[in-house]
Symmetry: C2
Subunit: 455 residues, 2 copies
């Protein structure tokens, strides 16, 4: 078993609880604040938007939170996901025997990414509390697809506000959501006040994630039967993703291995948290593990942003969260890794960066795709644009270890497949893909608009 | 284990040999004939096109043929594939406990279907014999993608002639092949005599599978460094797919189950053979197993064709094979299940139908998609258009057993995912999908052109 290609667990080895890193952090996370009073918000402030069980998880400091049986039953449709030893990539890089690369693969879920890990429990808790309809936003479509899938299994109606430019450019994503029975509209829509206001000002608006969030939040806040669901950033979302890292630990043990470096790409932070948080207790116990968050150079919230209170959305409707941010007015360039185009970073990931538990690197999109092509031609799997960033750093770390003559075991999260992203590969192969880096002045301007909070 | 959702094997449980059904059939398969002399062809006739190891497998009557270690190493990237118990579909159909549905899922391969099961050994044997380049044709793109993937892993150049209409309509399929390093051109191309002749007669030709085969065969026959690879129909292709059924038998045993009915969709016949042939020895030993081939009503070679010698391609360049055929001049309607649009049927499948070992049913495309939508909303996975036909019959068989109060265990092959086929789902959901059935007169006209062979 120690030298397998794919380390496979049985369904009775799916973790039965989620791991809550808050229990082990040196200091508790700073609370979200009411944007008006600047006072910490309480569960009651979130009640119009989220099921109470979700709100309890959002503020919980309990180390392990049981996964409900009905959620486990659905996880069994694709979990445990495989852990791979990248034998063929290692050979292509001509690595010595003591430099090894492993990857966890989340692309085997029906929606093709890690997102169903949280979509399913979010739909489950909503159902438990009598909610019959969920509203959400989606950019490129990964999250909207995952929630549509989860809604289908629980018989919950799902309404997805999809950023109009993506809605037009990616009709197959909409078709996927509709196949699972969801309703998907282009945002801005004329179904909400927020959408109508935007359309009145600019009938040709292409939309943005910020606008779509405003529409979904308004939808949920104004309908008795409806709650809101978010696919990243918040504590409970990161919590649900920890099944990834917990399985990876068991699978690394099958390979008689333990990682020296754990790598995940970061947009809102959820897949990175999923693979890495379960390794944090060992690290805090003194084990020498580096945990690297990889973000796009075009949206460098951890490497070029500040750690401050900011809004979660562009329109300034959400509570203030203390996080690494480029400013909620920052508009990231149109890179293909749509899932990493977020001005902020999960508060928990931001806090752990501030505490030195994790480190961060930024990668340019063309370098990421070059790594993805090498990966696809050796390991076979076509990566989604987001995890190409993690692949690039995994390869870099392996080559550095080879040059230094160091023993090194590297683990990264391949959080989804790229079957819906072939336009991006086509652009890269045909030499049309561009790199973006925002000038520091642009970031400074967005940061100048941060809300003032006395700390 | 008996009541799991997903039955998972370890990599040391991948079958180590392919199963050759020829060894167990009551009569040997009729030989392919030279279209000029009408005499049986020998291995030397195929040598310009295929590696010798492949030719030997094509004519072999040996029951078990060892899978080379290098092929097994690559199979480990996605094999063994999971077997599912369709708990959620069963619940939606309100089935009694003694009516059970299982499905084998081949969509977890990097190319998303069962096609790599044969693409990998075909590339392996070519490499072994010093071949540095493979030529093939592809319609919708599944086979071209699989061979591109296999070529990448063995460092073999792959040239794919893709039917022009698909080349234009599905640029993402081309991008997928190019990501794996293959070269993909629209057919008819100006790179072959066959292509140039077509273009001279009709510069706007949309191409056809027949034309693309002619181009790929000419390419391989006229270049020293190049062999031809085919993705279905031939004996060796069906042989390679038997890993599917062999694994399924082991996985059904984990579930304490054995199928009463085994179902696969059929175009050329390879995924059907893969799931069903390993069950044939038990059936021939008297076990009561029904084996059902499901074909599209728009291309009903088994249910409305004749069992006769015919050409494998439209242009009449191949040897004559005895098979169920609608006539090589038959042009099937443009259904979304592009992989099932073939005028003939694998000679082995045809022979077994003639011998009463298997039975056949035809399904209309809208009925197939209705079943697929129900499947996606219960089991999660989005099926490719081809296996929607198998799903439809699996559901029908389950409901019939329920009505009759019979105990029944049903197994079908879900041979690929539909991530690249969302246009078809979109058409179905929006009510724009059409059903096609060719009038009997049209089939009769194509059959009138069958070559005359004295038997």
């Amino acid at each position: 078993m120690a030298d397998s290609t794919r380390y496979v667990l049985q369904e009775n080895q799916i973790p039965t609880s989620w791991y809550n890193v808050v229990a082990d952090l040196p200091t508790p996370p700073p609370p979200p604040l009411n944007p008006g009073t600047k006072m910490p918000i309480g569960p009651e402030d979130l009640a119009p938007l989220f099921p109470m069980a979700i709100i309890q998880q959002e503020v919980s400091a309990q180390r392990h939170i049981d996964i409900p049986g009905e959620v486990l039953d659905i996880y069994k449709l694709w979990r445990p996901t495989p852990l791979y030893r990248a034998h063929r990539l290692e050979a292509a890089l001509d690595l010595p025997k003591n430099v090894r690369i492993f990857y966890k693969y989340e692309g085997t879920s029906p929606a093709g990414s890690h997102k169903p890990n949280t979509a399913v429990p979010q739909a489950y808790y909503a159902k438990q509390e009598g909610v019959t309809r969920l509203a959400t936003e989606t950019g490129a479509g990964q999250w909207g697809s995952a929630l549509s899938f989860a809604g289908a299994l629980f018989g919950i109606d799902v309404k997805v506000y999809m950023v109009k430019i993506s809605f037009s450019q990616k009709p197959y994503r909409r078709a996927l959501m509709e196949t699972w029975g969801a309703q998907c509209v282009a945002s801005p829509s004329n179904e909400t006040n927020a959408g109508r206001a935007i359309l009145a000002a600019d009938p040709d608006s292409n939309g943005s994630l910020g606008i779509a969030i405003s529409e979904a939040v308004e939808d949920a806040a104004t309908r008795e039967d409806t709650k809101y669901a978010l696919g990243s950033v918040l504590n409970h979302v990161l919590l649900h993703q920890t099944v990834i890292g917990q399985e990876a630990i068991a699978q690394m043990a099958m390979a008689d291995a333990y990682p020296d470096v754990v790598i995940g790409c970061t947009g809102g932070g959820s897949n990175f948290a999923g693979i890495s948080f379960p390794f944090v207790p060992e690290k805090l116990n003194g084990k020498n593990i580096r945990i690297i968050a990889v973000e796009p150079a075009a949206c460098p919230s951890l490497t070029k942003g500040v750690y401050a209170y900011d809004f979660g959305d562009t329109a300034g409707m959400t509570p203030l969260m203390k996080m690494h941010t480029l400013g909620s007015a920052f508009m990231p360039a149109s890179i293909h890794a749509g899932g990493l185009r977020y001005h902020g970073m999960a508060p928990l990931v931001s806090l752990m960066h501030d505490q030195g538990i994790i480190e961060a690197q930024a990668v340019k999109q063309r370098d990421a795709f070059a790594a993805a092509i090498q990966f696809a031609r050796t390991e076979g799997i076509l990566p989604a644009p987001e995890p190409t960033h993690a692949i690039k750093v995994a390869i870099d770390e392996a080559l550095k270890a080879k040059e230094a003559g160091e023993e090194k075991t590297i683990l990264f999260n391949l959080c989804g497949h790229g079957n819906f992203d072939l336009v991006a590969y086509d652009r890269y192969i045909s030499g049309q893909m561009e790199d973006y880096e925002h000038p520091q002045s642009e970031i400074a301007m967005a940061l100048a608009g941060l809300p003032s909070v006395a700390e």
